[in-house]
Amino acid sequence: DQQVKQNSPSLSVQEGRISILNCDYTNSMFDYFLWYKKYPAEGPTFLISISSIKDKNEDGRFTVFLNKSAKHLSLHIVPSQPGDSAVYFCAANPNYGGSQGNLIFGKGTKLSVKP
């Protein structure tokens, strides 16, 4: 049973426009969320994170929004650039009752930014 879901396997966006990647989770106890970007033949690279005590975190062109009541988060990339083309993974840290160490990942969304 997937605890972190990315329901869109792929997304295509024009360069300069906004990219919105979505992620849903099932466990209201999750308290920290992360986005990773992965290029082919490379490991995932940390992008941005958000704690459950916040509803927004911004870093340059990247903004993550968290809606706890809906158990939903989204990553906005503005403006999108061709170099942003990659697979984006949403992850949750189930850091309740003591750290379990692991992150729980979604299956990823492949973003293609067309020039």
Binding site: V4, D31, Y32, L34, Y36, A41, E42, G43, P44, T45, F46, S49, S51, F89, A91, N93, N95, G98, S99, Q100, G101, N102, L103, I104, F105, G106, K107, G108
Partner: protein, 114 residues
């Protein structure tokens, strides 16, 4: 500063054999995590080591095991290989233990079982 390194890059084994994968964390990081990414799936948590001890393991059979050495590098061993073990194996390290800190990933080892 060097990132997380993994070796080998690719590994081809026959069903029933054993595979050993290696990982060196970022300098100063004491926690090492192993994940499996099979085709079409997200990253599945395998094992977590910190200060030489296994702290947690995911829902994988006991033939997946590993260890962490005094220099914090780590080994993942997969015994009695099965075809479905073919996957990308990713190692990550982190500095913050017991907290929500980010994990930093290596490039992975692609294991193919024939």
């Amino acid at each position: 500063e060097a990132g997380v390194t993994q070796s080998p890059t690719h590994l081809i084994k026959t069903r029933g054999q054993q595979a050993t994968l290696r990982c060196s964390p970022i300098s100063g990081h004491t926690s090492v995590y192993w994940y499996q990414q099979a085709l079409g799936l997200g990253l599945q948590f395998l094992l977590w080591y910190d200060e030489g001890e296994e702290r947690n393991r995911g829902n994988f059979p006991p033939r997946f095991s590993g260890r962490q050495f005094p220099n914090y590098s780590s080994e993942l061993n997969v015994n009695a290989l099965e075809l479905e073990d073919s996957a990308l194996y990713l190692c990550a390290s982190s500095l913050e233990v017991g907290g929500p800190g980010e994990q930093y990933f290596g490039p992975g080892t692609r294991l193919t079982v024939t």
